[in-house]
């Protein structure tokens, strides 16, 4: 699986086999998958290595802040939805998760822009990096190019995509071979030619491409994780980081199902309308006549984005200009 060594697989199996009694709340959903790597892209993975809290921890945290004042019987699910709807963020911060991730460097560069998290990354100053490079799927290259280039040029033919894959692979292989030659070490860090001095690891690595895989521990609270998902499990995110975000979203669903449902309804599938767009929509709902959008002070781009979100509005406005 995903190029893990046998000894790594064995370590994971041993971790999974152990069990201890705890007084802490547990999440059945996460216990079932704990430590198990979930494959992402061609050689990456995400696995949960620790967690704290569950749906109930959010409720419990919120009720400290409401205390005795809330007496009405209110379902936990309803409270979680209320907190999400009104962006009361602190109760969601009371859950925490720790992931172990293998991802290409260019993905981590986007990932680590999320500042409120704890990171421990494998160090290329101390260690020899593994010979693992991201090699995109040819079908993906064509699709990403088509959407990213917004129609400039033709769609990419399969043979062109294959050529790109080969080019990326050859560049990576040559750079990695040269990296080892400069180090004068093999992939395990063992010296090769005792007569020749090796280049310092921190320097030899500078020609390695950003497509090389690295590893890190990432610990984050639930609110910041949801913020990560809202940006990275989004169609505007680059495909490669989205693949990781999608895998993590599945873990969040297993961990805190009520929170995840509320997040879907109030964040991921929600619509935010500007003051102007709201006014236009209300006018359209309140009138039998078609509405002239010109009076609502939306720019062309803003109107187009609104019509993408609410296509039913097209038949309710005067098309013009």
């Amino acid at each position: 699986m995903q190029n893990l060594t046998e000894s790594q697989m064995r370590e994971i199996a041993e971790s999974r086999a152990a069990s201890s009694p705890t007084r802490r709340p547990i999440s059945e959903g996460l216990e079932a998958i704990l430590f198990e790597p979930s494959p992402v892209l061609d050689k990456g993975f995400v696995r949960v290595v620790d967690y704290m809290g569950d749906d109930n921890a959010v409720v419990q945290g919120a009720r400290v802040s409401y205390g005795r004042g809330t007496r009405a019987v209110q379902s936990d699910r309803g409270l979680i939805r209320y907190l999400m709807r009104h962006r009361h963020t602190t109760p969601f911060e009371l859950c925490e998760i720790k992931l172990h991730v293998r991802a290409p460097i260019f993905v981590t560069r986007q990932w680590f822009r999320h500042r409120t998290a704890s990171i421990n990354e494998y160090s290329a100053r101390y260690s020899v990096l593994e010979r693992e490079f991201y090699s995109p799927d040819p079908a993906g290259i064509a699709a990403q190019s088509a959407s990213n280039r917004q129609g400039r040029g033709e769609a990419m033919a399969p043979e062109d995509a294959a050529r790109v894959v080969a080019m990326l692979r050859d560049d990576a292989a040559r750079c990695y071979d040269n990296y080892l030659w400069m180090l004068n070490e093999d992939e395990t860090g063992a010296p090769v030619d005792p007569e020749r001095p090796g280049v310092a690891r921190e320097l030899a690595r500078i020609n390695l491409p950003v497509g090389i895989y690295t590893q890190f521990y990432w610990k984050v609270n639930l609110w910041n994780l949801l913020r990560f998902l809202s940006l990275r499990a989004d169609p505007h995110a680059q495909y490669e980081i989205r693949a990781f975000a999608d895998a993590i979203a599945g873990m969040v669903r297993a961990w805190v199902p009520a929170v995840y449902e509320a997040f879907g309804d109030y964040v991921q599938n929600a619509t935010t309308l500007s003051g102007q767009a709201t006014a236009l929509l209300r006018a359209a709902l309140g009138s039998a006549e078609k509405i002239d959008p010109a009076g609502f002070n939306l720019s062309g781009r803003e109107l187009r984005e609104l019509l993408d979100t609410v296509p039913e509005l097209r038949n309710r406005i005067v098309s013009g200009g």
Copy 2:
């Protein structure tokens, strides 16, 4: 115990009675005390309500960042001490703890200046605050005043301290009575006089003294918690927050004993010497003659602080000025 109601005590006992199997690492030391309130001051408490990680999580986090590069057998304790000595902070961030605290408002105002933590506090906008005020121990009033006032005036006589305690208590009682009168509610939030309109809770509370107790959940990672302890379990901290910090320090010792030991050696009991102080110390060690501190460019205050820290230096320098 500490003015907890019977139903609160029962809830805690029930939480402690429950146990589930988990694949996560556990801390025996924390499991033993989980949920149990530890009394602080006259009516406050701290209790651990959840945690994540242990000593080994720090080691494991650090080894991701060392990866294959570290092959020498190295004791976990030695690695933890190395990380602490060189302030490699990120592995310590991989442990997390959640506390439930009851403390006076003036203590929370110092506490919440530590920004990197998650807080959910009981809300005085929505709920009626409890009739619980901090009443200092008379012996403490005398001691704090003597050290804080740096000898201004005489030591405080027992009867003066008793008078201060009574004054604080009477002010608090009167303000609280007036608070309930303004609310037109009793302590449980039940209306008193149906004919008379009550003041909004958010407003009625503005005459309550900062000595009133409040409650909050506090979730923080181990590194930020150690930073909190280094500032608040310190002789310069106000006695009242130090009492909480000392209680928490005992919990950290139970949780991550190797980290706590390293923290004691390299942070709490460590000495930091300025460049000038280091030069003076080295000169004193390297010479049989007494050294004239005048040549080392320390201010009078800096020299005094150094001699407090290293009193043996007094006999090695030329006293003058």
Copy 3:
């Protein structure tokens, strides 16, 4: 003005009189009001004491991240609106402001929950607090109580409100007198009775009400300031902190007018609809018939909140249940 002493007024006038040439961008709007205290509540104020950046700094920051890729001529205003609409937050972080605030302690307790800011507060451990307490306007007491209590009891009569004001004032005065007595100091910190030992300042202050005024410097970046405004210049915020937020909003408008306009359109006056609410709205727009909301899986509370936001929807749905 707002109980500033003459020497404080003179210091402010002197600061305002000085001028230096700078190569940095300046904001005409903020230069005009720099250092000038803007009164808030009965004895509080906010004043801008330093700032960095302007509307253009946001544009410039964003264009580094787009670099050569953006070639189309695009108005700065359009770019700022685009960034706000899509919550591209980092360019807004490039502006910074520093405020000097005098506010009651219960207001600062809400204020300092915003963690990503720098605070330096006047210390009651080392200094004698001023005899300044917040005294609410009687009309405000009645209004807040009516809305906050959700109609429990009658509206508050003027004489009841006056009685509340008097009660708050008397409690505060008595507590402050006792505070000075315990300190055995006057308001300037000068000793009163040399024969009698005083209580430590850190301890004597514990019976002071949370309505007492304190002072602090607050430095924050523009994005976090907008986040503060979105929560605190909101009808759900307590009146007293809203008064400060409203004063600050005026300063932001003077500082970065294009950002402030976009913030109004895309955050303050914007509407966020859940996935379910969006579906219902689209159905209503797309159909000539009335829609039955039962099929859209909104709770009663969610539907009520939606109808408050988009009242025109009432006539487009089947009322029932």
Copy 4:
């Protein structure tokens, strides 16, 4: 200078030529160098593009927190040194600086681990990266250190170093040529062969080495900047990021000279001794006899590190085992 284009140089000159009057405090030292790029490594630079505050802002911030309680005349320099000595960090947070940096990606990966800062980076998803790669100076190419796993050891022979430089350059050139071929664009982003579809920018860049230069805006407060310098202008830091830190240190010295001096004395040139090391040192100072370190519970490594810091101690201890 550093591969800036003529139009970039002209823009910088124009920015420097402009001047406006401001009521804000200014730093003469920074005004003199504002906008001017300071060269770092072969093609990088750092330049200050905005700032807020000066030495006096630190003093002013601290005095809010001491308020009326501090009456003794105390020089600003003394107060700054006191704050630094006792790690009172918040007054230092009141100064802010914004830098524009061009640095290799592997340097930014270390840089951005400092989380409390605002970053806007040139985007390789939307823009074509420039053909600028870090090419180390042959004299700086060193072997892996044998003693220090993180560092560089001996310099390599000139012919070996030249071969490494050539290898890095050739790999970079080939990868960049292939990058442009995949994009089917030239360096300005203009299409090359209209018949051939190009690869998405976000994907074509994945074979670019981590030695390629990128650009970013970095805004940070003074305290976090000093923390950055304490870690990155340190002999243990990688040479390449140290070159940037050293350049920035010079800017900080020009900006806040009193703070920079205190930082040197109390942080950069300071020594931190563990509890055990302090005890050993005190024993050595207090005794005419040589001391046996065995009784002080230092590990071999800890004792070696102490003797490196305080070499005069060697003659005061019993050497043994």
